[in-house]
């Protein structure tokens, strides 16, 4: 199939960006979206142009490096799918694909489709962990965890930190990312001792960088791992209780 691509090009964080139009011809349906970009890049490079910069690594939908807006949707049209797992069979001959980077004030564009997502690391640094210094752990089976709890924690822990939730949110909010980590750790008994300071610090760090949640649900739809909006309710509850109890 032949496609028209309109791709956001921007040389540096300060530079003015613009859409450039490219033709992608003979695209195979079994190709992945990023392979289609690889081929375009190879052509650009050998014709003396700079290839389109985009972030990617594992191409298995787990490292969370990739992610662009495709036709106004974070990670493109297929639900529960990261950009790298999107295949060209989702598109048809003659389609125009508009490809734009994630946009949020605190996800500044580094180049073309690459953005800086370091605020996510800062949210984790502010309490997205259980303090268990190496060597201090008790025997693993000493703490039984009900299967339902463990499964719910795992559901939340599946987050890959790609930033699609922020990108998709009309408010540029990072609630789903933050809530997934709060839920993962606060649901487990091991996370109990730090649950209040964790949620307070993480939420307050999140708010330094991102917008607020108005419960649109766009994040949940864009999430390649299907992280549930319920986690946000859980985080809100934990934060409220923590504020009430710790004073």
């Amino acid at each position: 199939m032949d496609l028209t691509l309109r791709v956001w090009r921007q040389e540096s964080p300060e530079a003015e960006g613009r859409f450039e139009t490219y033709r992608a011809v003979d695209v195979q349906p079994d190709m992945s979206f990023l392979e289609m970009l690889d081929i375009l890049n190879e052509k650009l490079l050998t014709s003396g142009f700079e290839p389109i910069a985009f972030d990617h690594d594992c191409r298995e939908g787990i490292c969370g490096s990739c992610g662009v807006m495709i036709n106004g949707q974070a990670h493109g049209p297929q639900r529960n799918t990261a950009t790298c797992q999107l295949h060209m069979r989702e598109f048809s001959d003659g389609d125009t694909l508009v490809i734009e980077p994630w946009r949020a004030t605190n996800f500044p564009i580094i180049r073309d489709l690459v953005v800086d997502r370091s605020p996510f690391d800062r949210i984790i640094t502010a309490g997205g962990y259980i303090s268990a210094p190496t060597g201090s752990a008790p025997e693993a089976n000493l703490i039984p965890v009900p299967k339902e709890t463990s499964d719910a924690a795992m559901d939340a822990a599946a987050c890959i930190g790609c930033g699609a939730c922020v990108a998709a949110c009309p408010n540029g909010a990072a609630q789903l990312f933050t809530a997934a980590k709060v839920a993962h750790l606060n649901l487990l008994p091991q996370g109990g001792p730090e649950r209040r300071s964790r949620v307070e610090r993480m939420v307050e760090t999140m708010e330094e960088y991102f917008g607020s949640c108005t419960n649109h649900g766009e994040c949940e739809s864009a999430c390649p791992k299907g992280i549930s909006l319920d986690n946000i309710a859980l985080m809100n509850r934990e934060y409220l209780l923590s504020k009430i109890r710790s004073r």
Partner: protein, 641 residues
């Protein structure tokens, strides 16, 4: 050239089960107050790197951690699906530290260092405790206790798992522990920063040279010790299951500075990957080996059978693994399963549009367990398969084929994980240590975490303690200047090449050559051909490389050029190593050395050693041998029949 002096692995004495403990008792300690006076550089933040950085930070060392990713959570450890082994014996099925040790040595085809493997088996138990305490959501039984499953190469269930995302959960655990130290100020994390050289002064590692990938700044970092945890080099084959950015650069530049490279030809092919669909394929996707627990592997008995899989009756199917290896069946080790698949496909029985796969069939499991159970166990893998191929594995068998997956070779390290450059350590897949010639499933995560959480924090003290009071070498020192300018000169070279071909083109060519001649099967002629092909490719690379853009901003082609350059040199060394090793063992299968029924034939009399190669600046590499002695597991022919 060959160096006949044996390598000293500094293995402690005593009975094997007491060696680690004896060693810990003997090792020098650094007092808590003095730890902060030491700066440790950790390169790579995968399982090994992040766990090391976190633990060293907890101990009080000043840690500088480096990753070329934008976050400490992206390393390819995250993609490990199946699980992590530990000799907990929770299922009460006869597992023990000794059995895990035995399985690993045997699985590695008797080419690993016994003492290291035993230590790994001992530490496996603590890893699970540590990870559970961190909140890793391992699968559990209804009673709330941890669940186990079986895995290739073992007859017990000792694998702990978190759905199909075990690597992700373990890495996030280590990453979070590391970020906690970042919060506490003991670890300084440098993201988007690639290590491009090790600085060696008076024979000791004293720092590294890095490049900021965003603005191109070349920087120097001094430390009392440098820890490399930069993963393996499967991407030398271009097509592998590794992440696109995984590379050998840190390890290779260290090798060029004097760290010996051990067993480069020991590479592992993973049997259950999705076969390539076209020539544009950028990477291969692995499907967890755990699928072999319930899936049955077969090909049509008649080559070129045109019928769709569902319409081929049992009588016309060849369940070749079950037929050839009745004891282990579909659960034979990876190297055995891979070669068997290659044999079938080469024999014309391949399935799929390009006839490049074999079937992995869940029809029996779906009938026996029901769709819900299968979905619970493998749902995410089935979904992934469907997304990639457009086929529904609940209805039609998956197609799988082996792909490059893991490299057992790596920097030679002693029992303390120190390379041949004092002060330079290598952890995880970056070192050669524990898996011999073949790694068993669910052992990579175990090794990465054992090295990072439980080995390096102790052994590093032994190196540092006598150096108390020594300052780090200032980065203005001539040795830093010199290394920096070498790095700059290299980058300039790529940018001013002015050729016509992209780094990817060279990478792809190299990959094809290696896959053909140094892949699942090797022979002397092919390897010689490959060596000369790689040499001319390297020459072409030096003259015909095209890298657009500049060195002062994000330039992914420039990053790639440096990595491909190193792969070209490594590829040649792999072939040299494969050529010299006149035997078959584990992942290294020399066609000339096989038994009558096509199994690997080792030559223990002549090749029971680790081949550690020294760099000679373009001359032929020097071979150094570390003899392997087996006191506890008698080498025998591996049999999974």
């Amino acid at each position: 050239m060959e160096n006949q002096n044996g390598l000293d692995a500094k293995v402690p004495t005593g009975a094997i089960n007491e060696r680690w403990e004896n060693h810990l008792a003997d090792i020098n300690l650094v007092s808590p107050a003095n730890k902060r006076r030491f700066t440790i550089i950790v390169v790579g933040t995968g399982l090994a790197g992040a766990s090391a950085a976190a633990t060293l930070g907890e101990l009080g060392y000043q840690v500088k951690a480096f990753t070329f990713h934008d976050s400490g959570r992206r390393a390819h450890s995250i993609a490990a699906q199946g699980g992590i082994n530990a000799a907990k014996n929770y299922p009460n099925d006869g597992d023990s530290i000794h059995r895990l040790f035995y399985d690993t040595v045997k699985g590695g085809d008797y080419r690993s260092r016994e003492s290291n493997v035993y230590r790994l088996a001992q530490l496996s138990v603590e890893i699970i405790d540590q990870c559970v305490a961190q909140g890793v959501p391992f699968a559990r039984e209804y009673g709330g206790l941890l669940s186990n499953r079986s895995f290739g190469g073992a007859q017990v269930s000792r694998t702990f798992y978190a759905r199909g995302q075990t690597g992700q959960q373990l890495l996030l655990g280590a990453y979070q522990a590391m970020m906690r130290q970042v919060d506490l100020g003991t670890v300084e994390l440098f993201t988007q920063t690639e290590m491009l050289d090790v600085v060696v002064k008076d024979g000791q590692a004293v720092g590294i040279i890095t490049r900021d990938l965003i603005d191109g700044t070349i920087d120097s970092h001094a430390g009392h010790a440098v820890v490399l945890a930069t993963g393996g080099y499967s991407n030398v084959y271009f097509l592998s299951t590794n992440a696109m950015k995984s590379n050998v650069t840190a390890v290779w530049r260290a090798h060029r500075q004097g760290a010996w490279f051990a067993n480069p030809c020991y590479t592992q092919i993973h049997p259950t990957c999705i076969p390539p669909s076209d020539e544009f394929q950028s990477k291969l996707t692995l499907m967890s080996e755990s699928l072999r627990n319930d899936g049955r592997i077969w090909v049509p008995s008649r080559s070129g059978d045109p019928r769709p899989a569902e319409e081929i009756p049992d009588a016309d199917r060849d369940y070749y693994l079950e037929r050839r290896y009745p004891a282990f069946g579909n659960l034979v080790p990876r190297d055995v399963a891979s070669r068997a698949a290659k044999l079938e496909v080469d024999g014309g029985k391949g399935v799929g549009p390009l006839q490049n796969g074999v079937y992995l069939d869940f029809a029996d499991a779906l009938g026996r367990l029901g769709e819900d159970t299968v979905r619970e166990r493998y749902g995410n893998l089935f979904d992934m398969y469907q997304r990639i191929t457009g086929e529904d594995p609940y209805l039609t068998p998956m197609r799988i084929y082996p792909a490059m997956h893991y490299t057992m070779g790596g920097l030679w390290v002693d029992y303390n994980l120190m390379t041949t450059i004092p002060g330079l350590y290598a952890l995880g897949e970056a070192n050669f240590s524990d898996h011999g010639a073949n790694r068993l499933g669910a052992s990579a995560l175990m090794q990465g975490l054992a090295d990072g959480y439980f080995v390096i924090p102790y052994t590093l003290g032994g190196y540092l303690a006598p150096r108390l009071g020594e300052k780090t070498v200032p980065t203005t020192d001539p040795v830093f200047e010199e290394t920096r300018s070498r790095v700059r000169w290299r980058i300039e070279g790529y940018l001013t090449g002015g050729g016509t071909r992209s780094p990817d083109w060279f990478h792809r060519e190299l990959g094809k050559t290696l896959w053909e001649h140094c892949g699942m099967e090797r022979n002397a002629d092919g390897l010689r051909q490959a060596i000369s092909a790689i040499e001319s490719l390297k020459e072409e690379f030096d003259h015909d490389l095209l890298v657009p853009g500049d060195g002062h901003s994000l330039n992914q082609s420039l990053e790639k050029a440096g990595r491909v350059d190193d792969f070209l040199e490594l590829g040649r060394l792999m072939c040299i190593d494969a050529l010299h090793r006149e035997e078959s063992c584990g992942g290294h299968f020399r066609i000339e050395h096989q038994t009558e029924d096509g199994e690997a034939e080792r030559d223990d009399d002549n090749f029971s050693y680790v081949a550690a190669w020294g760099w000679t600046n373009g001359e032929e590499p020097i071979l150094n041998k570390e003899p392997l002695e087996f006191e506890y597991v008698r080498p025998s022919r591996r049999s999974y029949k």
